[in-house]
């Protein structure tokens, strides 16, 4: 049995679980970012000088902020889905244990859960991209590639947070992660203003975050201003980050589930 086939088996559980909460996630995954788009892109955007230059071209503030919010949404959906649900599958609903009583391996349930989260991200950002297009902020057909790009951003957060979720004994740390890691990244990773505005040490930190790479990649795609070497560098960074995080997550899952 191939790894792919085994990793798809847990998916049905996560979908069944999702069926009973999907209404709530529509609010958090779609409505909230749209509110941000209206407030920051449209509202605040009115006060920002109109001739923002990206790669030598001028754009509206909304055009520049919208793809950043797309990437940030992927980050937020992924971070939520990989925190409490992972801890729950170990500690409360104990579904990981049920899966391990069946012929599934630790890496199958990790990959299966990550695939589910990736699908959640992809569906959310697809809707979101349509909303951005309706606001007139999509400038190129290349924008369609922002969907998989946002998927990469999402998994770049889902994998390390799942690793932590399997390591931690309680959910107390998740709030800290959201407050002290996710929120600052949301504000300072080139989402609302260029990272070059940051003091030098913080600018360096921003370049090391997966969100900055995701934001710039999505921005290049929706604006149609792709700088190939830079886009490739972003993809490579995110892919390497994901591989490293998944490796950590497998270790963390094994440590908790197989003893």
């Amino acid at each position: 049995m191939s790894t792919v086939a085994l990793a798809l088996r847990p998916l049905e559980f996560f979908f069944a679980q999702y069926r009973r909460v999907w209404r709530g996630t529509v609010i958090s995954s779609v409505v909230t970012p749209v509110v941000y788009l209206l407030a920051l892109g449209v509202g605040l955007g009115k006060f920002v000088r109109q001739d923002l230059v990206y790669n030598g071209e001028s754009f509206d503030y909304l055009d520049v902020v919208a793809p950043a919010l797309l990437a940030a949404t992927a980050m937020q959906v992924a971070s939520f889905e990989a925190s409490w649900p992972v801890l729950s599958a170990i500690k409360w609903s104990r579904q990981y244990h049920a899966m391990l009583a069946a012929p599934l391996r630790v890496k199958d349930l990790l990959v299966g859960h990550q695939v589910f989260i990736a699908l959640r991200i992809l569906s959310t950002v697809t809707v979101y991209l349509a909303v951005i297009a309706a606001f007139g902020a999509v400038k190129s057909p290349l924008a369609i590639l922002a969907i998989p790009a946002a998927g990469l951003v999402g998994v770049a957060f889902a994998a390390p947070i799942a690793a932590w979720g399997a390591y931690t004994e309680s959910d107390a740390s998740f709030v800290a992660i959201f407050r002290f890691l996710i929120l600052p990244m949301f504000l300072f990773s080139g989402t609302f203003f260029p990272v070059s505005q940051l003091p030098a040490p913080f600018e360096a930190v921003a370049y090391a975050t997966p969100l900055w790479h995701g934001v710039d990649l999505c921005r290049q795609l929706t604006l149609g201003e792709v700088v190939v070497p830079s886009a490739i560098a972003h993809v490579v960074f995110l892919a390497a980050w994901i591989v490293a995080s998944l490796t950590l997550a497998v270790i963390s899952y094994r440590r908790k589930l197989v003893l």
């Binding site: 049995m1 085994l6 088996r9 847990p10 049905e12 609903s93 104990r94 049920a98 009583a101």
Partner: protein, 312 residues
Amino acid sequence: MGEHDGQSLIQARGLVKRFGELTAVDAIDFDLRRGEAFGFLGPNGAGKTSTMRMIGCVSPITDGTLRVFGLDPMRDGVKIRSRLGVVPQLDTLDMELTVRENIVIYGRYFGIPRSELGKRADELLEFVQLDERANDRVEPLSGGMKRRLTIARSLVNDPEVMLLDEPTTGLDPQARHVVWDRLYRLKQSGVTLLLTTHYMDEAEQLCDRLVVMDKGKIVAEGSPLELIDRYSTREVVELRFGESRPDDLNYWTDGKVARIEALPDRVLLYTDDGDAAAHMLHERGLAPESVLVRRSTLEDVFLHLTGRSLIE
């Protein structure tokens, strides 16, 4: 029951499980034969669950050898688990899903096609008498119903061996009897059962053969009757004295009983003829608060082997 009866399905030799300094399972040997109901009897912390988890391929062995269906649990975990039915000590049901969904989704973990699972779920729910609750959420079900659902779920892959880790712990007497009845039927239909318990009555009810475990070691092995025969007498006289327990029971019994066990709340006299012993004490003028003559149980065997009660 088939021609393969008696074939060894699980084999452990010198099996050891250590967690750091703690030795949970200390070099045990046992064989599980096809068609039998085999039990691990022992108090909490005896190493029963650790043994079950090693067999279930979710806990690497520290030392010794373990073969399940002739395979190595650490290398062939997927193959082994596709042939096992696991009823864990803690339920792993999803409380928000319905009774039926729990079985169907679990069946999907085994790669059983959805089209087959509907019928399979209905049959299994009927078997555990939960067919009327099929579309209810799991959460409000009683403990006994949840346990039966876990058992039904573990049967979804038509397992050759069922691993039952304390199948009735926490259930009321009536619910326990329903579970025992279902397990007995499974055994009749040829499913091999491997169970852990700290209830001697459960072991007596269900097990053809059992091992008594204490502090990671197997201290005795045999059928319930053999064990009682070997380590206890046919009958036991239980005496309760209240405040004034006599100091020298040997004097009162005058060497007429095989063994005396003084527990904090009662005194047990081991003898093949309980009535005669009780009569003799009465004749000699000993007047306990209460006298109960009963047959020996596995509890007595355990007490004799370890000097402690099973449930403390």
